[in-house]
């Protein structure tokens, strides 16, 4: 496989031909903020946090879905990008009811960590305070729509790793939500295999194991990667 050489933040980086900008950057130790991306699952390009600037292209490009090209000159951390990332995060915080202090994922939350790392101290947009329900009908897991950021990781994991197709999206725009099957209570689902992969995949406290209270929950994401590695490379080891 041919390699490509590109420049990321002024640094020369070599990448595999089919690598994405995100993969090339990660390999070179350059971190790009992501939210909807999850290693091992195909990308949606939805959260727009990984947008980067590429010299000569006026549009911003998502690092998670854009393939590297020879000689590409990428900037991942300009003032403009930082501004957009912060605003995007603020929009998320204002959209539903993200109250870290009472969240099962407090301190283990990707949204929270991102907000810290992007210097988001407060939200300049008006909070929408929508009324979303909590689905506690499943024996093992729960779903709190108030904390959902619609990254669709759970849906992608459910369809493409577990193959159950239980999690789906319904509605559009601000009314979009994650549903179980054709919108029935999770506990009533006859497609759910209780595998828990969606809970492992969720970046916030929207999907949680029952019984875990504030700050108690940790996720086992290596399991997902393990399965994918096993499947694709026939290696029964989790990489790192």
């Amino acid at each position: 496989m041919a390699a490509k050489t590109l420049i990321i933040n002024g640094k020369h980086v070599s990448a595999e031909e089919n690598a994405t900008i995100l993969e090339a950057a990660t390999e070179a130790g350059i971190s790009i903020p992501t939210l909807c991306h999850l290693d091992g699952v195909y990308d949606a390009g939805a959260c727009r946090l990984c947008l980067v600037e590429v010299a000569g292209i006026s549009k911003l490009l998502p690092a998670c879905t854009t393939k590297v090209a020879e000689g590409m000159d990428v900037s991942t951390d300009t003032e403009r990008l930082r501004k957009y990332r912060r605003m995007t995060l603020e929009l998320l915080f204002a959209e539903r009811n993200h109250v870290c202090a009472v969240c099962v994922s407090n301190n283990h939350c990707e949204l929270q960590t991102l907000a810290y790392s992007q210097g988001m101290e407060h939200v300049r947009f008006e909070y929408r305070f929508p009324k979303w329900e909590v689905d506690n009908t499943h024996a093992l897991f729960g779903m709190d729509h108030n904390r959902c950021i619609l990254c669709t990781r759970c849906v992608r994991v459910c369809w493409h790793i577990e193959g159950a197709g239980t999690k789906n999206e319904s509605g559009r725009g601000a009314k979009e939500r994650i549903i179980t099957d054709l919108n029935q209570p999770w506990g009533a689902s006859d497609t759910c295999t209780n595998c828990g992969k969606c809970v492992m995949a969720c970046p916030t406290g929207a999907l949680f194991y029952k019984g875990s209270t504030v700050s108690e929950m940790e996720r086992d994401r290596s399991k997902l990667e393990f399965i994918v590695t096993a499947r694709e490379k026939k290696q029964w080891i989790a990489s790192e």
Partner: protein, 569 residues
């Protein structure tokens, strides 16, 4: 079917023509004011007058001046003339016809009089139109393939299949200079060339008939009035790119267009103009109709394809473009209804002829659906480069009730408002973009001096907010905040800081959204801010807050440094 059969059908159809043809509009606009009843009454009246052998009552497609419907026009001069021009544009035109009027209309053919309101076929609204796409609209019977064939229909397909290589076809399209009529104006020939060159055993052709812009009805009219021209255009496209299956994606809100399309496809199959071995060549092509639920975002090409595949209609990042990876991951040609409808005339009359119409960079004509505060609401087709003034003042007749036109909105929710001062702008892709608007698919909404521009911006923002698919954050959550801010401004509760925030949201949503819906959603706000800023600032109240500015990316206001906030690990 060979060419002789086609010519025979055309000749037979022409020979069967009667002395008079009473054309009655049966497109959705006139149908909504009972033109179907008018057509039936005309049939009865002709029979009662004993004129069945001399008069044909023909249901036709849109006759363009929709606001005066139901429209009826008579070919022949109505004074017993024996020579009759097919689709005579000068024939007597009757407006707002009711079924009760039928008998007196038929009586005019024998020298009788009628009080039915006469329209003026010599007014600029009609005479300044140049018809390519709408050439058959209002003239042929959209429910009879013979009627289309008699208007030289399917001859271009024959000539293409039997006399040109796919490469010749692509080259002719490039030479014609046709650009996509679905909004962005991408050069059609270039798109066909890309799909043709992409390797693949299975390729598809899709006709985008989602038409979601509020106020737009061009594509619907074309489908209702002349469905075969779209089918023929698609077949020529399929031959050029090497596809054997086509889909037309129509919204369920267009039941008449759907039934006429299905009928047209059935007839074309019966006549072996679709199916296998068309014109006894090795070319196979089938077309199926796919019905969408009317989500605006499903007009976006990647969302549309996802919907055709039976999945949720949400866009995905491009590249890869549909030409490379489209429907079921196969190379796919996707064009708009009007784009395809331009194709048969280009091959009938030659790409040079087409390239001779319009401006240097925008060739041919454009169909507009004129609506809003305008005297003549309806459908018009004008050469590219016609000025907005010509369209809205001369042809459209200006604003009603002696009001003044304030602005013209083009491009629907993705477009912008062009102020009256800029009415002398020629309508072409590039001039409109320079004014912060876009050509769009052809919706043109006129506003008079009673319209409030902030209200207009809010209307479109509400539309985008409701129609956002919800996949990406800037569009999903950003439109909600922008809509909220516009409301706040209209309620007189906003401060200059809110306006600043609105502008920075426009910047964010435009530059970071995934698909065209979000990327263009701020346009109505940006263009009204550009030309009517005072209407916004007049509504603002004093800012009493003296905190950090909204658009300050650093905005630390004395708090801890970001790194210091990181959780201890």
């Amino acid at each position: 079917m060979v060419i002789d059969d086609l010519i025979a059908i055309a000749e037979q159809e022409r020979a069967a023509r009667k002395k008079y043809v009473i054309r009655c509009c049966l497109a959705a606009g006139c149908m909504s004011s009972n033109s179907k009843g008018v057509k039936e009454a005309l049939d009865v009246a002709v029979k009662e007058a004993g004129l069945e052998n001399d008069v044909e009552v023909r249901g036709v497609g849109c006759m363009k001046l929709c606001c005066q419907g139901p429209l009826v026009q008579i070919d022949g001069d109505g004074q017993g003339a024996t020579v009759r021009i097919e689709g005579n544009p000068q024939g007597p035109l009757y407006q707002r016809v009711t079924p009760e009027d039928a008998a007196s209309l038929v009586a005019t053919l024998k020298g009788g009089k009628t009080n039915v309101q006469r329209g003026d076929p010599a007014q600029p609204f009609f005479t300044n139109q140049v018809s390519i796409v709408l050439a058959n609209s209002g003239i042929v019977d959209p429910e009879r393939i013979e009627s289309y064939i008699a208007a030289d229909g399917y001859q271009a397909l024959h000539d293409v299949l039997r006399e040109m290589t796919p490469k010749d076809v692509v080259e002719a399209m490039i030479k014609s200079g046709l650009r996509g009529r679905g909004g962005a104006g991408y050069p059609t020939g270039l798109k066909w060339a890309t799909v043709a060159k992409t390797p693949g055993n299975q390729k598809y052709v899709i006709c985008n008939a989602d038409e979601g812009d509020p106020g737009a009805f061009m594509d619907r009219s074309v489908l209702e009035s002349d469905p075969h021209s779209v089918l023929e255009g698609m077949a020529i496209g399929a031959y050029a790119v090497g596809a054997n299956q086509g889909f037309i994606y129509v919204r369920a809100e267009y039941p008449l267009a759907i039934s006429r399309l299905q009928n047209a496809i059935k007839q074309a199959k019966q006549k072996e103009l679709l199916g296998s071995g068309v014109f006894e060549s090795p070319f196979n092509f089938n077309i199926d109709v796919r019905i969408g639920a009317g989500a605006f975002v499903c007009g976006e090409e990647t969302a549309l394809m996802s919907s055709v595949e039976g999945k949720r209609g949400s866009p995905r990042p491009r590249p890869p473009f549909p030409a490379e990876r489209g429907l079921w991951s196969s190379p796919t040609l996707i064009n708009n209804v009007e784009t395809f409808a331009n194709v048969p005339p280009i091959f009938r009359k030659g790409p040079e002829w087409f390239a001779g119409i319009g401006t240097e960079k925008s060739k041919g004509t454009k169909v507009f659906a004129l609506a809003g505060r305008i005297t003549n609401t309806g459908l018009l087709e004008v050469p590219m480069g016609t000025t907005l003034r010509e369209i809205v003042e001369k042809m459209g007749g200006g604003a009603p009730d002696g009001r003044k036109i304030k602005a013209v909105q083009t491009g629907g929710p993705s477009g912008g408002c062009i102020p009256a001062e800029a009415l002398d702008t020629p309508v072409d892709y590039d001039s409109l973009v320079k004014l912060g608007s876009i050509m769009g698919s052809g919706g043109m909404i006129v506003m008079d001096d009673t319209s409030r521009m902030v209200d207009v911006a809010r209307f479109f923002m509400e539309f985008c907010m409701d129609e956002s698919c919800g996949k990406c954050i800037p569009c999903r959550a950003g439109t909600v905040q922008m809509y909220h801010l516009l409301n706040k401004i209209l309620e007189g509760k906003a401060t200059p800081r809110d306006l600043e925030q609105l502008e920075s949201l426009c910047d964010l949503v435009k530059n970071t959204s995934l698909c065209g819906l979000g990327q263009t959603a701020p346009n109505p706000v940006l263009s009204t801010l550009r030309f009517f800023r005072k209407e916004y600032t007049d509504l603002l109240k004093e800012d009493v807050y003296a905190g950090p500015k909204t658009d300050d990316p650093g905005q630390t206001n004395g708090g801890p440094k970001p790194e210091a906030l990181l959780p201890v690990t």
